[in-house]
Amino acid sequence: MSNIAIRVSDVSKKFKIFEDKPATLKDRILYKSKGVFQEKWVLQNISFDVSQGKMIGLIGRNGSGKSTLLKILTKILHPDTGKVEIVGRVSSLLELGAGFHMDFTGRENIYMNASIFGLSRKEIDGKIDEIIRFAELGPFIENPVRTYSSGMYMRLAFSIAVHVDPDILLIDEILAVGDNAFQKKCISRIENFKSQGKTIVFVSHDNGVMERLCDELYWIHESHLVEHGEPRKIIRNYMDFLNESEEKRLTAESESLAIPKENENVVPEDKAKSDRWGNKLVEISNVQIVDHKGIAKHYFEKGKSVTILIDYVASKAKIDKPVFGIGIFRMDGYCCYGTNTHIDNEKISLNENGVVEVSIEHLNLVAGEYYLDVACHHENGTPYDYITKALTFNVKSYEEEIGVAYLPHHWTHKGEPNQ
């Protein structure tokens, strides 16, 4: 096929991780073994073709090998086995502003930097005005780069990189830098490239952008290519996988971080994560969140029903005016929802022990990580037992709404304005 822009055939790459690397003559002679090292495969048997004009995305967790693959595509790294064939000029947005010289002016750095991408003087002369305009630097272009703010620096670097006029563009997670306006500009520039029929390989953790822009996604996990295909499907599978491993992680974490008991020696580290106070007339012995099937979990789907179970032990049979409360907080401490039995006008008379249940019909929170506070206190506010961050849990959602809570809604459209 003649219209293949990138062909990666059976590429593998391993890194040597030296425990203590000898580099001097003495070390080489004394320790003939050349140092103790482990080999780590970062990429194994990766093969794929990208046709001209296609935009593909690479997704995967940190350390899965995405960036290494990009570096191999730019020829910064060389694969141990297999080969990469590329047709056309490659420009990479891996590291913006590499090779800038701080004492040179913006204009001088444009000449310097663009030449690293292989442009001739003539080509740069033809593009320099456009580069300066796109970078929005105005008169600052004649100032040394060391006087630039980081935003100006970024804009200049990005502007140069995208004006190299490549046939193939490699982009690594650059959208994570810069302010919103800059990000929008990056994305619209990328869309522009796409419409010009350039081939693009894109790495990002912004699944929304990936889904919108890419024609095909490749999912890399632990140095292997797991799956590739239509973006929506890959992202769904990838998210499911992430949720599953997150569930495992949270379960493992909660086992080691169970609610600290007062009468046990509590490790200070645990205390930092969870805090509790109160006079312990009523003690909360266990907190669980279960799904509609009654299974305790840390991962819940948005809008499904959940139940919070609070086990308690009362020190004496007669507790005066007890109130149970819950609070759901976003990880940044923002209270999403809080209520208690007093607000809801529920009267509870306690036994020696028992379970208080809060059933939430629809967990209408947007996707994210949350923590739960539970408390039992006297109606006048005297705390019996108050536990912050008793549990953390996640809400997952395939939609990407923003904000705090999901408000049930639907959209309609009428052809005519309302009468």
């Binding site: 910064i76 790294l77 010289h101």
Partner: protein, 258 residues
Amino acid sequence: MIKDWIDVFKYREFLKNSVSKDLRTRYRGSVFGFLWTFLNPLLMLVVYSILFSIVIKMQVDNYPLFLFSTLLSWNFFATSILSGSSIIVGSGNLIKKIYFPHEILPISIVMGGVVNYVYGLAILIPALCIYGYYPNINYVFLPVILIIQVILTLAVTFLVSSLTVFFRDLEHMLVIIVNALFYLSGVLFPLTTVPEEARWMFYYNPLATLMASYRDVFYYNKMPDMYTLLTIGLFSFLLLIIAQRIFAKLKLRFIEEI
């Protein structure tokens, strides 16, 4: 192998820019700035003139010029080797981030050295004129000698820049080696003052031949020994081919070592 050189040619703009960056930033922050490129050889000449006319008497006419006609080219060689040995390690940041033919780095060092040398001639030739050594027809050999020196220097710079990546001590060892070579290349004294039994060391040293050739042109106003010079030229060319092959082999592993 040809492919590597074509690649370097494609990046000639970058090469040009890094040479000019080197020259412009070398004296950055100093009051005289770029002027130092000329001040440096001029002051050196003044120092040697005073030293060898008052403090030490050498059995050579106009000894400062005798010395100076070779010292500039020696400095070109020595600086290229010494700064070349750390250029790959020192450019780690660039190598890890952007693709470009790594050959550019040692080449730019040597090119910078050539430019500096040519600027130095602007001091050397007027100084020669003052003492009555006027430019003559033998100056046509100057480009030939210089080209051979560039090829030789480039070959050695390729070797030391790539080997230092894997064996960092080389950088420090080179200081000593270059220092010893200085005395073995006949920069300081005419070959006739060397005892007969030690002269072979100079015959087998391509640098000694180059230095003698420069001196023939500038100081003795005579044609250099072309047979020896061209033999050295051929040797340098072969060495360059081999050195580039070694460099090309080693450059694949640069990124993992720096």
